[in-house]
């Protein structure tokens, strides 16, 4: 039975305890940032920030969401990785730090903009789901520290059942667009969300696609351009014109 974590945004108070706990457990350095006119900090996930609370302000309310690796079943990062450094064991997507060459392709491929290139280490890094903790019967650091119970860890099926119930409650209580996110996206995520509104209101793609989903169309586009279109002017000008010229010359001669 795969494990997962459920993030209930309706319980999040944006204390950012998860950010601190993650930094501490994974011994990640602080980032040098500037005041941008918001409590949200740092501006984005990176090779040294693996979870952060995003702040979105609407008239009369704040939308908070802890953003971190979704641990997709059909993980784009894993699909495009040219060295096989990224692997998926059914619940956790891990970048092997001994094998990653730091090419940055996973950074471009992730639909959630999660992995970051760590220039110090020379590799791509992201949330490891505290693999060292969960394989020893502990919760991930973010879930363990969360004081409001917004981040919980457990069996994915159990969390989905809890989440469905929560969505019912939210919908019945003034959140008609409440959405369970992650059940089927990208083959099933291992970071699930109960959202109080549509995913796009929380900065999440409504229908995320694996980076490789259009690969064949893209190769075909390149081949068509080369095969038909680029060869055509060369043929017109070098072959056909030569033929016409020789016919003209032949006629004149």
């Amino acid at each position: 039975m795969p494990k997962a974590r459920l993030i209930d945004v309706s319980k999040c108070t944006a204390c950012r305890g998860c950010q601190v706990a993650c930094k501490q457990w994974n011994e990640l350095p602080a980032e040098d940032t500037r005041q941008r006119g918001t409590y949200e900090n740092p501006p984005e996930l990176s090779g040294t920030t693996w979870i952060k609370v995003e702040f979105r302000e609407r008239p009369g309310e704040w939308l908070f969401r802890a953003h971190t690796c979704m641990h997709c079943t059909e993980a784009s990062c894993e699909a495009v990785c040219p060295t096989g450094a990224i692997s998926h064991n059914g619940e956790v997507v891990i970048i092997d730090q001994e094998w990653c060459i730091g090419c940055g392709y996973c950074v471009q491929a992730c639909p959630f903009h999660v992995p970051g290139k760590d220039e110090e280490e020379g590799t791509a890094r992201k949330c490891r789901f505290c693999i060292d903790r969960i394989t020893n019967g502990l919760e991930p650091a973010c879930a363990a520290t969360c004081p409001s119970g917004a981040i919980t860890f457990g069996e994915r099926d159990d969390l989905l059942a809890t989440a469905r119930q929560k969505i019912q409650t939210l919908r019945a209580n003034g959140h008609p667009n409440a959405t369970l996110y992650g059940e089927n996206e990208m083959g099933g995520l291992h970071t699930l969300y109960t959202l109080t509104d549509r995913p796009s209101e929380f900065g999440l793609p409504e229908s995320p696609q694996p980076a490789t989903s259009t690969a064949w169309a893209q190769w075909l586009s390149g081949a068509v351009a080369a095969g038909a279109v680029a060869a055509l002017p060369l043929w017109l000008i070098f072959k056909r014109k030569k033929k016409i010229e020789s016919e003209v010359e032949g006629g004149a001669g």
Binding site: C103, G104, Q108, K117, Q218, P233
Partner: protein, 315 residues
């Protein structure tokens, strides 16, 4: 930004190297030329370009000394893995071709005949690989989740058109340089030429150069249409962020390099210069100068295109 200048310089160099080879081989087939004059120029220039491009790529890795991990797997789903192998084999075959051609300068007729058989097999293989190579420079970006790269299927098309356009421009400059050296008085350069080609006269017929310039006009028109199609597709795409990604190019922070560097430098200026001199004899100095200027614009504009797209996708 995970992909820095070395990446877009690489995409430009690899495209030009592959595009030059692609065009040179087709021209040889269409004109039934057997001297490989144009193809040898394309290969002699393409190999160092591809090698420099690869060195830039390796430098840009977070852990450059681990680059060999790329050669431990062949993953057809990962364009970067596939591209690594395409590029490697393309370069190896091109180097073998160069060595065989160089050897055939010096050896007896009988050996040359068997060498010709071998080059006859290798040349078309590298032609197929050159198509994959130039397509891959676009596919690499398109297989991602950055809206500017991934929300249409026209980026590989655009990059292939640009690769062939820059490749043809490179052939024009190389042919003009080769002619100048062949007819020139600089003994050192002619010694160099004799060493590479086994003769001090490696001149390309002016007719071929005129037609290369005409070819570039058509390829530029195709590239321009691809760019317009790409922009329309981006504007219409349902992928979130596609519209604002297009805005970055047309009115946003990249508007200046896009309109000046891509639309004017890579497309409209060369198009104007070449149309103005269409059908004129190359012998006239003004015509030659216009063709040189247009080719330089195409090549530099190709670099700006790679830069604008690579940077824009990551903003």
């Amino acid at each position: 930004m995970a992909w820095a200048p070395p990446i877009w310089i690489y995409l430009w160099l690899a495209g030009m190297a592959g595009g030059g080879y692609f065009a040179a081989l087709l021209i040889e087939r269409y004109t039934k030329a057997t001297d490989h004059k144009l193809l040898r120029l394309a290969t002699y220039l393409g190999v160092p370009m591809a090698v420099i491009g690869v060195l830039l790529l390796v430098i840009d890795l977070g852990s450059p000394l681990r680059f060999w991990h790329l050669f431990t797997q062949f993953d057809i789903a990962s364009p970067m893995s596939l591209g690594t192998w395409i590029l490697l084999i393309w370069v190896i075959i091109a180097v073998v071709l160069i060595m065989l051609w160089w050897l055939s300068n010096k050896l007896s007729e009988e050996v040359v005949t068997s060498i010709k058989k071998l080059t006859g097999i290798l040349m078309p293989i590298d032609f197929v690989l050159s198509i994959l190579l130039i397509a891959y420079t676009g596919v690499l970006l398109a297989v991602s989740n950055q809206p500017l790269w991934a929300s249409t299927a026209l980026l590989p098309f655009l990059f292939v058109a640009s690769a062939v356009s820059t490749g043809v421009a490179l052939l024009i400059l190389a042919a003009l340089a080769s002619n100048a050296i062949s007819k020139g008085k600089l003994v050192e350069l002619r010694i160099c030429m004799n060493y590479l080609f086994g003769t001090t006269d490696w001149s390309i017929p002016e007719k071929v150069i005129e037609r290369l310039a005409e070819t570039d006009v058509v390829v530029i028109v195709i590239e321009l249409s691809a760019l317009i199609g790409y922009a329309i597709w981006l504007a219409a795409s349902s992928m979130s962020g596609a519209g604002s990604a297009l805005g970055l190019l047309t009115t946003g922070v990249l508007a200046a390099p896009f309109w000046v560097g891509v639309v004017l430098l890579a497309l409209l200026i060369p198009l104007g210069l070449e149309i103005a001199n269409w059908g004129k004899e190359l012998g006239k100095k003004s015509v030659t100068n216009a063709i040189i200027a247009s080719s330089v614009c195409v090549i530099l504009g190709g670099l700006v295109l790679r830069a604008v797209i690579t940077i824009g996708g990551q903003l």
